[in-house]
């Protein structure tokens, strides 16, 4: 087993050094650093907006580009968290806690170096864990039938309810909207048209997930950012001299421990669908503080407080690829869009990917190692450039993003109708997000919707309509029990808390 892994990894690494793929890694890392650093844009926005452009290259090069963009964005988020004091993307929120005080104390260069190095260490640990876990998990998942597939998807949605931390009825609503939108068009089994709103023929072709994803993460996100960044921003000064940099590299000793711990946590949190990089970085920060000898200095400019969340979010981004590649269940909104992209490229996500498209899988894994190294170098080298870019007015970036969204959606589906839908989704998504309706579950659901319905109905046809089939198979039973517990936990907890509050009042 180990030997095949090493030889496959070797060929994957070779593949990622092919000129086109290497170019894609560079382009992806740069694009990622950029979207990560721009306030309001994160990996998910970059991946959604640029997915239509990747049809230019073969699927392996495309996924390498988008994956590199994903890690790049994790690095980039730290740049604005530290120099602007506002997170470049939600995944870098925890980096602000100590990054901002450090910048205010004139130590922005130390914080930026620590963030880059910690991201690199976190990413590397996570990629090694990924390489070790992915092949056996895929082999194990080969035994899965449609019952297990369906149960896993139920589990994925349940994690949003149990661990998502958002308002529960709103989360459920968001999941259901995504699933219903995915059901528009012809029924896969009977071939009957469904949910043809206002008898418009255009709905018969269904709603492509990218229309919703770009609507929400492109249009909606820009509207959201226009609102939140209308105030003036202040950039902190950064000393980017070589002497400073060498001194800063020496500080690694101060945070290597928390970084390693953060990477482990990040990887496992990242594999959970509802969690992803944002909670991973927050948890990693919390643990670093708990285990620190000097917890009071956290929040006042402790370098470990910058390193820990950066290691966590980078590790989580790699971790979230694990269920996507092996099980066909995305571990984060970004990987949900990658999964949708794989379907458009004609690949069938799931355990068979390892046997059917080994070049694709191992090319991706090999590229992770290369991309991580490329990103840390680019990041450190380009810090002065990115600081200049961050000073760019938002009113230049916004229309460019809008144009990419409109043209990208049209180019993917060849229909004006879809660009109209995208605008509607964007505006409605923005209005709902202002009321704390989580949007990520809807995007995950529209990607998984067709797969979920197909596996549900396949299971029931093979069992001749006996719903007990989901409970008779051990893995599917286990998934459903965990899912039920995840849904029940916050409800029971909430009821208990309310009863206690009432008892306290009396």
């Amino acid at each position: 087993m180990m030997e095949t892994v090493l030889s496959s990894l070797g060929s994957g690494l070779l593949q990622s050094f092919e000129p086109l793929n290497l170019f894609m890694i560079f382009a992806g890392c740069l694009a990622g650093l950029f979207v990560g650093a721009m306030p309001g844009l994160g990996s998910v926005n970059g991946v959604a907006i640029l997915l239509p452009v990747t049809f230019l290259v073969p699927p392996t090069a495309a996924i390498i580009f988008l994956a590199a963009l994903y890690y790049g964005a994790m690095y980039g988020g730290a740049i604005s968290s530290i120099t602007l004091g506002i997170p470049g993307s939600s995944t870098a929120v925890a980096t602000v806690f100590d990054g901002r005080p450090m910048a205010q104390a004139g130590k922005a260069d130390q914080a930026l170096t620590a963030a880059a190095i910690a991201s690199f260490i976190g990413g590397t640990i996570s990629i090694i864990l990924f390489t070790l876990f992915a092949p056996p998990l895929a082999v194990f998942a080969l035994k899965f039938g449609p019952q297990e597939e369906f149960a896993l998807m139920v589990l994925a949605f349940a994690t949003f309810i149990g661990l998502g931390g958002d308002d529960i009825p709103k989360t459920i609503f968001s999941i259901m909207v995504g699933l219903v939108l995915a059901a528009v068009g012809f029924d896969i089994i009977s071939g009957k048209p469904r949910l043809i709103f206002f008898d418009m023929v255009d709905f018969q072709r269904g709603i492509e997930f990218l229309v919703l994803a770009i609507g929400i993460y492109g249009i909606g996100e820009m509207l959201w950012t226009l609102e939140s960044t209308k105030g003036a921003i202040t950039l902190h000064k950064v000393d980017t001299s070589w002497k400073k940099f060498r001194h800063n590299l020496g500080q690694v000793r101060e945070y290597i421990g928390t970084t390693t711990l953060g990477a482990m946590i990040g990887f496992f949190v990242g594999t959970l669908p509802a969690a992803g990089a944002t909670p991973a970085s927050l948890m990693s920060y919390g643990l670093a503080k708990t285990f620190s000898k000097d917890p009071d200095s956290f929040g006042k400019g402790n370098i470990a407080g910058v390193a820990a969340p950066e290691a966590g979010n980078n590790a989580a981004s790699t971790g979230s690829m694990l269920p996507m590649i092996t099980l066909g269940i995305p571990g984060s909104p970004t990987t949900a869009i990658l999964l949708g992209g794989m379907i458009i490229w004609g690949l069938r996500p799931g355990p068979l990917l390892f046997t059917e498209s080994p070049d694709f899988v191992w090319g991706l894994i090999g590229s992770m190692y290369v991309a991580n190294t490329v990103t840390v170098l680019l990041n450190l080298a380009l810090i002065p450039v990115f600081i200049r870019v961050l000073a760019m007015p938002f009113t230049i970036l916004t229309p460019i993003i809008f144009v990419l969204c409109v043209v990208g959606v049209f180019a993917t589906t060849d229909r004006m109708f879809d660009t109209w839908l995208m605008l509607i989704f964007g505006v409605v998504g923005y209005l709902m997000r202002k009321l704390n309706y989580p949007v990520a579950p809807a995007v995950l659901a529209i990607v998984l919707g067709p797969l979920a319905e197909r596996s549900l109905r396949q299971s029931l046809i093979s069992s001749r309509g006996d719903a007990m089939t989901f409970l008779e198979r051990p893995i599917s039973l286990a998934c459903i029990l965990v899912a039920a517990a995840l849904v029940a936990y916050p409800i029971v907890n909430g009821m208990r808390r309310r009863r206690r509050a009432r008892a306290a009042q009396e």
């Binding site: 219903v180 009957k192 048209p193």
Partner: protein
Amino acid sequence: MTVRTAELLMAIATFLASLGLMLNVYVSDLNIGWVEGRGPGAGMWPFWLAFVMALASFATLVRWIRGITPESRSTEDYVDRDTLFLVVISAVALLVLLILFEIIGAYFSLMLFMFFYLRTIGRHGWVATWSLVIGTPIFVYLLFEVALTKYLPKGLPFFENLFLYVDDIRYSLF
């Protein structure tokens, strides 16, 4: 409008939309029940999903009445004045962009959109404005039309014919 009012209106809207979805499935020729020996009918999946949507919206309504969600107690402005200006003008600009796509074609409308956004909203100088007004359609043309071989809308015949000249130049080059 306060956040509190917005929360109520949104919950009512989502509730009605869910009922509309259920009705849409119900009145069409789809089986929303169980087919003996085969499992769910074609309409069962969307119908019951919409039913859960309705339940979730109803739960939000109940929580609004009982003041459980923070939004249901907030008396802040849902959209304040400055935001309203930026967001509405952006959304309307996009709307006009899409309408113009089908009249004067993608490229001319992109130029107008960029000009409006950079000059009127961004108040940028002429150099920045013109370089993006001219650069954006060229970039889009090269990326989507040439590299991805996608035919973007060219608008009414008059504007479509104008574009033939551009295509002529392109094909004479590569």
